[in-house]
């Protein structure tokens, strides 16, 4: 059962990823990204990490996808986007991606790796780690979120000030 589900989710993730990079319409690209995020959430569930799976659905599939769709529908650029590089750059991009994947995957087979020694990670475990050893990174991430909000508002306000 696990084997079937694992191949199913992997196939859906690859299909979603190809939809993102190959579909000329960004809206369908966002739908492909949604498919990819949901199948990765399924992979997390198979990897015995239900907390990350639910966070993936809530934050990525629920938040970031809606954010992308808002911007795509808000801008509604009328010009058809013929934005693919079919020239030499495209060939170089394909070659780089293929070289990266082949070298990375073959590097996994050089040294024997351990099998899974899974732990069922609950929210309690992650929370305990977060508030003891990872406290500094946790506080810094809250500061990073604040900086992100201020920067986004500042960039959007830039236009108003130029207009006056």
């Amino acid at each position: 059962m696990t084997e079937v589900l694992m191949w199913f989710f992997a196939l859906l993730a690859i299909i979603g990823a190809f939809t993102v990079v190959l579909n000329p319409n960004p809206f369908y690209g966002a739908m492909g990204l949604l498919l990819n995020f949901l199948s990765i959430a399924g992979m997390y569930m198979l990897l015995q990490s239900p907390v990350l799976s639910l966070l993936q659905v809530i934050v990525y599939a629920g938040g970031i996808i809606v954010f992308f769709l808002f911007v795509i529908l808000l801008l509604h650029l009328r010009r058809p986007l013929a934005d693919r590089d079919s020239s030499l750059k495209g060939v170089i991009a394909v070659a780089l991606a293929v070289v990266f994947a082949v070298v990375g995957v073959s590097a996994l087979f050089i040294y024997p790796m351990n099998g899974f020694y899974m732990a069922y990670v609950t929210a309690k475990d992650i929370g305990q780690y977060m508030l003891t050893d990872g406290l500094f990174a946790f506080e810094l991430s809250s500061f990073l979120l604040l900086v992100g909000v201020v920067t986004a508002i500042a960039i959007v306000k830039l236009y108003r000030e130029e207009e006056k």
Binding site: T2, M6, I14, A17, F18, V20, V21, P26, G29, L33, N36, I40, M43, L46, L47, S49, L52, L55, Y60, I64, F67, F68, V71, L75, R79, L81, D83, R84, D85, A93, L96, A97, V98, F100, A101, G104, V105, L108, F109, M113, G115, F116, Y117, M118, A119, D125, I126, Y129, D133, G134, A137, S141, L145, G148, V149, T151, A152, I155, V156, Y159
Partner: protein, 101 residues
């Protein structure tokens, strides 16, 4: 289900995202490909941290941090996309160069 399978899937997804960043000119699609790359790195970290049993909680914490970084990156990137569409009326990155060719 082996770690090699999970990390191979993550590498292939990362390569697809890299291809998207290099190949497409639409800024929003480039941001989506970046999300794909961050997401595949998350998958690789979870797959690797599940080889270490209870100590793998550190990896899950790292994934949470990457989640926050991805959210901030998308917020700022889409703000830049909105600004780009208002000032230049396009989101294609190649049409923004101002130096004469």
């Amino acid at each position: 289900m082996t770690p090699v399978f999970v990390i191979s899937l993550a590498l292939i997804m990362f390569a697809i995202g890299l291809f998207g960043v290099l190949f497409r000119k639409n800024f929003i699609v480039i941001l989506m490909s970046l999300e794909l790359m961050l997401n595949s790195s998350n998958l690789a970290i979870v797959g690797a941290s599940q080889m270490f049993g209870e100590q793998g909680v550190q990896g899950h914490f790292l994934v949470l941090m990457i989640l926050i970084i991805a959210a901030v990156e998308v917020a700022i990137g889409l703000a830049i996309a909105v600004h780009m569409a208002r000032t230049a009326d396009t989101v294609e990155v190649d049409s923004l160069s101002e130096l004469p060719k």
